[in-house]
Symmetry: C2
Subunit: 311 residues, 2 copies
């Protein structure tokens, strides 16, 4: 029995993992806004798991980057509290629980879960993308996680997909894939496209709402009503999405790319496949939905801990 | 002693490789326009090497894709003769020479040479780019070549860098990095930029030549004379170059990217570094010139054969 946990910006999830399954349900607690709070919640969550007295290791998936030794956080993201960018998770938890601890970036852990027991099972080369407010990725090359020089690799959201310095990315650069193909990018595209339509020609959802207030949700619901503008925006989004996916296929020639995250459920796979196939050299890579959504990270972290400590 | 060879569209090179060096010079023969001719030249070249009676293995770097078993060509490029796309190199050469044969794609072999004994020595994560009429790449992840599902990975030249369907790539797609940042792309950029300048404002090299006849060479020589138009074109090229390099850095977080090929010698590293740094999350990746140019492929193939057969 291994504990799998996932520390994100809004929630911390905990579960007991055994025989490649969550055993006894997932405990989900709100992420506190300070480091001590996060540790307290961590101890509380583990204390409430049914398997707490029978565990061999703890696997932690976390937002931010993790060192090559899989022991501590080395870089944070905007939605984590101050001080999280150097949190010695392994050291702190080992002292408290006296069992082995393994830490991995959440997108990497999620990719590992899809590879081990999810929809990319048996695919020795596979990438899992998380399409949400940003775009994250975890990459498996020949059955192993690609981590890079310090563990900060797989930042696939930050491939530039246009030379235009028009959309600034959260990373400080311009024209990143994430700025176009994430949920945030989706709404920006909608507003940009709407601005180009003369007022007298604005119909459907464009009559109902002011342009600066258009959201991704508006377009998706318009799409469900066959709104022509929504269809156009969605098509553009799938075009942007296909660009980064094609880059990854041309670079990695993977067996599959798994699409997870809030935006993934809006993908029309037939359309996306045809757009991607126009852009790739090798045609056999499968585009697949994720098997796991919210619990991919904790499962993957538990699997990785199991492999690391031969459990 | 291992024979290293490199089969390209214009030349086939041969050398004896020992103790991480070419021993006794390189034999270079013209590539024939048919398969039988290539094999004949191959036998001739090996027959003329001083080490021919004292070799343990043959390593072959070749244009095109190579199967996962490193035994045969599985896909060709436009400049190789018909039938090259399924050439059973290992089988044919093993029958002739009765020694182990190892086949690898030329860009992969070149990257391996730079990694083993070249300017990326000791860099466990490194990429070697070949900037010529196209853009090729070989990628080392944790000390091993990234090959993909069938051996056709590392096609880094075909990352889309613009959503505009304006420049068609040799691969059939649009907007590939190679269509902008290769030598061919360089000249296209020059002509496109020149067309936008009104006739009466065309100066320097733009007065000397008709736009459709502008070549990469013209711009480079203009650059050496501080021609303002040439400077502008070159700056745009380095911008395009920085986009693909930034994608690779964000994805692989490598120790280094080695720049080889005919176009690499025109890079201003200070300018390129500053453009790349604007676009990447992690700043430590080194941009380096290649140690080997023409002989990287045959050296890498010999090293790979040595590793494979424990020589």
């Amino acid at each position: 029995m291994i504990i799998g946990t996932d520390i994100g910006g809004t929630k911390i999830n905990f579960a007991c993992v055994q025989a490649e399954e969550v055993s006894g349900g997932v405990i989900s607690l709100k992420t506190p806004d300070n480091i001590q709070g996060i540790l307290d919640v961590f101890f509380e969550g583990i204390g409430n798991l049914a398997c707490q007295n029978n565990i061999k290791a703890i696997g932690i998936a976390t937002a931010g980057t993790v060192d090559l030794e899989n022991s501590k956080v080395t870089g944070s993201t905007g939605n984590m509290p101050d001080g999280y960018d150097s949190l010695e998770l392994k050291k702190i938890l080992k002292e408290k629980f006296s069992i082995p601890v393994f830490v991995e970036n959440d997108a990497n852990a999620a990719a590992f879960a899809e590879f081990k027991t999810g929809n990319a099972r048996g695919h020795m080369n596979t990438i899992t993308l998380t399409l949400g407010t940003g775009i994250g990725g975890g990459i498996i090359v020949d059955g192993r996680l690609l981590r890079g020089r310090t563990g900060a690799g797989a930042e696939v959201g930050h491939m530039p997909i246009t030379p235009q310095k028009k959309r600034k990315c959260t990373c400080g650069s311009w024209g990143c894939w994430e700025a176009y193909a994430s949920g945030t990018g989706y709404a920006v595209t909608a507003r940009e496209m709407a601005e180009k339509i003369p007022v007298e020609k604005r119909e459907g959802i464009l009559k109902e709402k002011k342009i600066p207030e258009l959201t991704t949700y508006d377009i998706i619901s318009g799409l469900n009503n066959n709104d022509p503008f929504a269809i156009e925006v969605h098509n553009m989004w799938e075009e942007y999405l296909s660009m980064g996916i094609a880059s990854l296929i041309n670079i990695f020639e993977p067996d599959s790319i798994v699409l997870s995250g809030g935006m993934a459920k809006f993908i029309n796979y037939e359309v996306l496949n045809s757009k991607v196939k126009e852009r790739v050299i090798m045609q056999a890579t499968l585009l697949l939905p994720a098997k796991y959504e919210n619990f991919a990270g904790l499962l993957g972290a538990a699997y990785l801990a199991g492999e690391k400590f031969n459990l």
